[in-house]
């Protein structure tokens, strides 16, 4: 589904010019530049830190990719993350054990996703409007649960899980889990009929419906899964910082969407690859880490993220406009030559 116009005209060139491949190339280039310019960048401690710093964005980017491929979006993920963090803190204070907190919080996350999904599929509301609403609602609920308190006395055992690396590697446990989930998501999206259905829905919901795809059910499930994963990311976030707060992860939805779009997923749906998204996530992470190591202020980091986001939608669109213009000129030239 993904190959575009260039690919059809000139397969070899098209393979190289695909946006997701370009993002991969950029990633390698920035990584190389990082190794060359900063001696702290390459050490395994820093890489482990940079990777675990990305864990929540990376985890949420997986289901978000599936949602955007089928033409929807969920802006409430960071609020679900905050709510799950607040709940974790509140329940821990109330004396629950972690073994009961985790499933409870995950169920709440799934319910948040279910509410989004039902409003989108049953009422036919635009997911953008719905999730702007639930974004405010869930963040509000997070404050209702925990106020402006911070809960921070979690036992070492649990916090370690979020920061320790798999023995002998620089890969944090949370990232190891991400790798497993990414493989599953990648196979699902690119090697199964369900994955093809998602692209079909993104290209034309009506056509997909008439082709017998259960559009609404698939979307509903995707929203539930997104809520579930966002809640899980909330637990990871809480343990990683050792602090449960209602405002945890504020603004993180922007980074997730930036990563997905940077990875070449078309915001209108129907186009994209998971490999591109992972490259996008890593590129944002590497850039952020480099800027941090070079003591570049957070405001410049924000500018870089914003510009990346604008460029990621602008570049492919300009390429399309350029191709359209060229083929129009060619058609005019041919018409005037024959007539």
């Amino acid at each position: 589904m993904a190959p575009d116009l260039i690919a059809r005209r000139a397969p070899a060139l098209g393979k190289i010019l695909r946006w997701d491949v370009l993002v991969g190339v950029m990633l390698v280039a920035v990584f190389g530049a990082g190794l060359g310019t900063n001696e702290n960048f390459g050490n395994s401690d820093n890489i482990a830190f940079a990777l675990s710093d990305l864990a929540e964005i990376a985890l949420i980017a997986l289901p978000m990719t599936l949602l955007v491929v089928c033409g929807e979006v969920d802006l409430s993920v960071a609020s679900v993350l905050g709510l799950s963090s607040a709940l974790t803190g509140y329940l821990w204070n109330a004396g629950w054990t972690f073994e009961t907190i985790v499933p409870f919080v995950l169920v709440v996350g799934a319910i948040c996703g279910l509410v989004n999904g039902l409003l989108v599929t049953k009422l036919g509301l635009p997911s953008l409007a719905v999730t702007i609403g639930t974004m405010t609602l869930y963040r509000g609920l997070a404050y209702v649960v925990l106020g402006t308190e911070a809960v921070s006395e979690f036992p070492q055992v649990y916090s370690e899980w979020a920061t320790e690396t798999v023995p002998g590697t620089a890969i944090p446990y949370s990232v190891a889990l991400f790798i497993v989930l990414a493989i599953i998501t990648g196979l699902l999206l690119h090697a199964t009929g369900l994955g093809r259905s998602l692209f079909a829905i993104g290209n034309s919901e009506d056509a997909a419906f008439f082709a017998g795809i259960r559009v609404k059910r698939i979307k509903l499930i995707l929203f539930v899964v997104t809520g579930f994963v966002a809640a899980f990311a909330g637990i990871v976030f809480t343990l990683r910082y050792g602090s449960a707060r209602a405002d945890n992860g504020a603004g993180l939805e922007m980074s997730v969407i930036a990563a997905v779009l940077l990875g070449g997923v078309d915001f209108d749906g129907g186009k994209g690859t998971l490999g591109g998204v992972i490259a996008g996530v890593l590129l944002i992470g590497v850039l952020r880490n480099l800027l941090m190591l070079d003591d570049v202020s957070t405001e410049v980091q924000a500018i870089v993220t914003g510009l990346l986001l604008v460029i990621s939608v602008l570049a492919p669109r300009l390429a399309v406009l350029y191709r359209e213009g060229r083929s129009r000129r060619r058609a005019v030239a041919e018409a005037s030559a024959s007539g």
């Binding site: 979006v73 409003l119 009422l123 036919g124 509301l125 635009p126 953008l128 409007a129 719905v130 702007i132 609403g133 639930t134 974004m135 405010t136 609602l137 869930y138 963040r139 509000g140 609920l141 404050y143 209702v144 106020g147 922007m254 969407i257 930036a258 779009l261 915001f267 209108d268 202020s297 957070t298 405001e299 410049v300 980091q301 924000a302 500018i303 993220t305 914003g306 510009l307 990346l308 986001l309 604008v310 990621s312 939608v313 602008l314 669109r317 300009l318 406009l321």
Partner: protein, 351 residues
Amino acid sequence: MTAVTASPTATPPTPPAPIQDKDGLLDKVLRARELTIAAALILLVVATTIANPRFLSAQGVEDIFLNASILTLLAVGQTLVVVTRNIDLSVGSVVGLVAFVTGKLVTDGHSIAFAVIVGLVIGVVCGLVNGLLVSFCRVPALVVTLGMLYVIKGIDYYIAEGQQINAANVPQGLLDLGSGGFLGVPYLPVIAVAIMFIVGYYLRAYPSGREFYAIGSNPEAARLAGVPISKRVLTAYVVNGLLAGVAGVLWLSRFGTVVADNAAGWELTVVSAVVVGGVAIVGGVGTVYGAALGALLLTTIGSVLVVLKVNSFWQDALTGLLLLLAISADRLVSLRVARTLRKRSAARHGS
């Protein structure tokens, strides 16, 4: 301009027009969008006043109107954009940037007029950049303005470097604009209402104004009807940017003390106001009056929660809930309208 606006777009090929002329009842239902918000507002005010008579004190009412003014300006601008089936998420950042830069200029001793003009120009430039990217490069508005939100906020923080503007250093003339009034009527609401009526009149009475709705309800039909889509969308963004600039200047004059993250997160409040006010996020439907009522309603709810001593933590949750209720109710009404229309047209063809 002339050749295009002269084309038969005075009655654009949009759903609202055919619905309005046939049936009085449907007309009422559609108009009820604004009526419902107004009714909710009145109900809220009455109930709160019964619970706490001090709610309707002169000071309380003035505060609500002053607070609602800036939000109204932004909601009016956002309506223009949303009606064309686009969105501008960068307005909060623009307000923050304009408020800070204008404040910085006046405290550095520049004249008020110069500082205000620079502020407005910043707003227009931000709108222009958004508009050019969306209309001519045809990139999704959500993504572009989300990116611009970061970029503009980053620039704001970069300029501010942790400083803040103190009311003591802001010239009294500018502060008077925010808190003063003429014959007891404060300036801010007057400015907001005047701008609302100008934009509202333009959208309703001018062919080019109607084209904003045509673009939002059916871009393809609008294109075929000869509507200059890129130009109108660009106009929507530039006007929205300008109004954000005005809002930024008024923010400074109202509060005096300004830090870099002023108005952060306001883009969502503005979108909420617009959506609560009956402007459909998928474009083509809604008025600036509805959006202004939405802004007033959201502001009033904020004050009510304070007056009734509701824990402020509930405020976000209630705002979100209200937003969801508003868009759901709106959707249910329009589904019912569509069903009625279908039934009627089936009956007519059957007879």
